[in-house]
Amino acid sequence: MSTTANALGAGPKMIVRRPILVLAGLLSTVSAMVMGSMLAIWLDFRSNAPLRESTDGTKMLRDWLPENIKIPEVATNTMMMTFVITCVMAQWAIYSSRRNDSKHTSLALGVVLLTEIALINAQLAVYTQMGIGVRDGSYMTMFYAVTATMLAMIVVCTGFTLLALFRSIGGRSGDKDLVIAHAVYCYAISAIFSMLWLVVYVQK
C-alpha cells in the first residue's frame, strides 16, 4: 500500500507579520504626534507674540525669545550630529544582525547606547549653560516642557537599546526583528529631534 497516497497536503503558508516592528511603528507615530502637537502650540505662541522694536530701533521683532537668553548652539548642533551617528550605528546593528554577527551587533548597540547617554548629557548641558528657570516666563516654561518631553523620548529609546543589547549579549542573535524595531524607533526619534532642533534651537 502506498503511503504517499494518504499524505496530507501542505497547509497554508505561515505568514510572519513581525508584531514588534508594527509596535515600534505605532510607538514612533505616537511619539511624533506628541511632539508635533507641542511644536504646533510652540509655533502658535511664537506667531502670536507681541511685536517690539529692535534695540537699534530699525525694525520690529516678535517679543518671543527674551533678550538675555542665549541658546548654546554648539551643544544643540552637536546633539543633531549625534543623532545622525545614532542612526548609522543602529543600521550597523541591523547589518550585523542579518549576518548573524553577534559581536558586531552588540558592539553597534553599545555605541548606540553611548550616543544616547551623550545626548542626555548634552541636553543637561544645554540646561546648565542657558541658566534659566522654569518659572521665569512663558518662553522658559514652554522650553522646559518641550525639551524635557524630548529627553523622555530619548530615555525610552535608551531603554529599548538596553533591551536589544542585553538580548544580543545574551546570545539571542536570531532576534533580528527586535534590532530592526529598535532602529525604526531610533530613526523616528532622530526625525522628531530634527523638527525640534529646527523650530526651537535654529528658528528659536
Partner: protein
C-alpha cells in the same frame, strides 16, 4: 458524636479554606492575566460600573437645572461635576467599553492564539483604571478644570495622563493584533468587520490622543510652575476641551458600526453584500480624526454671496458630514442585507441597531450645531450631542455583549430581556438628550445651572433629561444583573463559530 462534630467542623473548615483559596486564586489569575477574554471582561465590567456613576452624574446635573432659583449642590461642585460628566462619558465609559470588547473578541475573530503584547494591554488596563480613580479623587476634592485646590489639580493632570497612556497601550495592542496575528490565509480585507472597525478606532486613538498629551504636558507644567501662560487649571478647557466632546467621541463610536454589521452578517448566515462598501463606511467615519487632530471646528454661515458660502461649506461638509455619510452607508447596507430571506432576527440586533441610530442622531446634531445661523454654540445642544453618541455606544455595547457574550463567557443570554432593555435604553437615550436639543434652540446655556431664563418650559426639558439619565442608570443596572445571572447560570453556549462570526467567503 463529638468526633463527628469535629470531623464535620474540620471538613467544613477545609471546604471553606479551599473555597477561599479558589477565590483568591481566581482573583490573582484575573489580576495578572494575559488571557484576552479575561482582560476584555475586566474592561467591560468596570466600564459598566463607571457607566452607572456617570448616568447618576447626568441625572444630578439635569435635576439641578429644573429650578434655577434653588440649588441642591454647591457652585464649586457644579463646575467639577460638568467637567467630570464629560470626562466620564468618553474616557471612563465608552472608550474602555469599546476597547474592552475589541480586546475580548478580536483575537477570536481573526484566529489569533492571543492578544499581541497582552501584558502591555494589561498594564494599559491598570494605568487606565488607576488614572480614572485619581481623576475621580481630584474631582471630588475640587481639583478638576477650574478647581481651587492646586495639589488636586496636579493629581488631575497625573490621572488624565495615566488614562490616556492606558488607552494608548490597549489601542496599540489591538491594532498590532489585527495587523499581525491574523490566521494564515486571512488578508486584512477579509478580516471580520468588527475587527476592522476595532482597527480603525485603535489607529484613530493612537493618532489623536497623543495630540492631547502634548497639550496636557504644557498645561500641567504651566500649572506646576508658572500659572499664567496656559491659564493654570482653567486652561484645561481651552487647550484640552476638544478631547472631551465631538468629534473625538465619534472615533470611540466607530466599533458600533462593526457590531451592527457583524450581527447582521451572521443573522443572514451569508456573505455581507457589498462588503467593500461596508469597510469604506467604517473608514469614512474616521474622517472625524482629521477634525480631532487639527482641533478645528469648521462652521458654515448661510449668508452673504454664494462664493463665501461655498468657501465655508466645503470644509464644513468634509469635516462634519463625511462621517455621517459613513454611518448611512453602513446602515443602508445592513438594511439591504436584512432583505435576505434567510435572515433571522437576533435579539442583539435591536440594541445594536438602536445604538447606531442614536450615534447617527448625535452626529447629525453635531453637524447642525456647526451652522452658525442657528446660534447653538455654548448651549445645552452640545451636551445633547454628547449624550446621544455616548448613550448610543452604551446601547450598542448591550447588543455586543449579548451577541459576543456566549463566546466570551460560554453561556447565552435570553432574548426577550435583551430586546426589552434595548427598547428601554432607547427611550432613556432619547429622554436624556432630545430635550436638550430643544432647549438648545431656546438658548439654554451650556454648563450653567443658574441665571438662565427663556420662554419655553425649562423645567420640563430638564425634568425629562433627569428621568432619561435615571432610566439609563436602571437599564445599565438591569443589564449588569441579567449578564451576571446569564453568564453564571444561563444556557450553555451551543452556537458555532459560523453562527457568531460572519463568513467572509460565504
Amino acid at each position: 458524636m463529638t468526633a463527628v462534630e469535629v470531623g464535620s467542623s474540620a471538613t467544613s473548615s477545609g471546604v471553606q479554606s479551599a473555597t477561599k483559596s479558589n477565590f483568591l486564586a481566581t482573583v490573582a489569575a484575573y489580576l495578572m492575566t494575559n488571557d484576552h477574554r479575561r482582560l476584555g471582561r475586566m474592561l467591560i465590567s468596570i466600564s459598566a460600573i463607571f457607566a452607572l456613576a456617570t448616568a447618576v452624574e447626568g441625572a444630578l446635573l439635569a435635576a439641578e437645572r429644573i429650578s434655577t432659583s434653588s440649588a441642591l449642590l454647591g457652585s464649586d461642585i457644579i463646575v467639577q461635576l460638568f467637567s467630570a460628566f464629560r470626562f466620564d462619558l468618553i474616557y471612563a465609559v465608552t472608550a474602555p467599553l469599546m476597547l474592552g470588547l475589541a480586546v475580548a473578541v478580536v483575537p477570536m475573530q481573526i484566529g489569533a492564539r492571543s492578544l499581541a503584547f497582552a501584558r502591555a494591554a494589561l498594564l494599559g488596563f491598570y494605568l487606565w483604571f488607576f488614572g480614572v480613580v485619581l481623576v475621580g479623587t481630584a474631582y471630588l476634592n475640587n481639583g478638576g478644570p477650574g478647581g481651587g485646590d492646586a495639589e488636586m489639580v496636579d493629581l488631575y493632570f497625573g490621572g488624565l495622563g495615566l488614562v490616556v497612556a492606558g488607552l494608548l497601550l490597549i489601542s496599540a495592542s489591538v491594532a498590532t493584533t489585527v495587523l499581525t496575528s491574523r490566521r494564515a490565509g486571512m488578508t486584512l480585507i477579509e478580516a471580520p468587520i468588527f475587527s476592522w472597525s476595532a482597527l480603525v478606532t485603535s489607529i484613530s486613538m493612537l493618532v489623536t490622543l497623543p495630540v492631547a498629551v502634548g497639550a496636557l504636558i504644557f498645561v500641567a507644567v504651566d500649572h506646576s510652575y508658572e500659572r499664567s501662560t496656559f491659564g493654570a487649571s482653567d486652561g484645561v478647557n481651552a487647550w484640552l476641551g476638544w478631547a472631551f466632546g465631538a468629534p473625538q467621541v465619534f472615533l470611540v463610536a466607530i466599533p458600533t458600526l462593526g457590531v451592527l454589521a457583524q450581527i447582521v452578517a451572521t443573522m443572514t448566515k451569508g456573505k455581507q453584500p457589498l462588503r467593500g462598501g461596508l469597510l469604506i463606511g467604517v473608514g469614512l467615519m474616521s474622517t472625524a480624526m482629521l477634525a480631532s487632530v487639527t482641533q478645528t471646528s469648521h462652521t458654515v454661515t448661510f449668508s452673504g454671496g454664494l462664493g463665501e458660502i461655498a468657501k465655508s461649506l466645503v470644509p464644513y461638509l468634509l469635516f462634519n458630514d463625511l462621517s455621517i455619510l459613513g454611518v448611512l452607508i453602513v446602515l443602508g447596507l445592513c438594511l439591504l442585507a436584512m432583505k435576505n430571506e434567510r435572515a433571522k432576527l437576533d435579539a442583539a440586533f435591536v440594541p445594536a441597531f438602536l445604538g447606531v441610530g442614536m450615534v447617527l442622531t448625535g452626529m447629525i446634531g453635531s453637524a447642525v450645531q456647526k451652522i452658525t445661523n442657528l446660534n447653538l454654540a455654548n448651549t445645552v445642544f452640545e451636551e445633547g450631542v454628547l449624550v446621544y453618541v455616548t448613550y448610543g455606544v452604551l446601547l450598542s455595547s448591550i447588543g455586543a455583549v449579548s451577541y459576543f457574550g456566549p463566546r466570551i463567557w460560554g453561556r447565552q443570554m435570553p432574548s426577550t430581556p435583551v430586546i426589552g432593555l434595548g427598547l428601554l435604553g432607547f427611550l432613556a437615550t432619547v429622554l436624556a438628550s432630545l430635550p436638550f436639543f430643544i432647549a438648545g434652540f431656546a438658548d439654554q446655556p451650556a454648563a450653567t445651572v443658574t441665571d438662565f431664563k427663556y420662554s419655553g418650559p425649562a423645567w420640563l426639558w430638564n425634568s425629562l433629561v433627569t428621568v432619561g439619565h435615571l432610566l439609563m442608570t436602571l437599564v445599565v443596572l438591569l443589564f449588569i444583573g441579567l449578564a451576571m445571572k446569564s453568564f453564571r447560570k444561563g444556557e450553555l453556549n451551543t452556537a458555532t463559530s459560523a453562527d457568531l462570526f460572519e463568513s467572509v467567503k460565504g
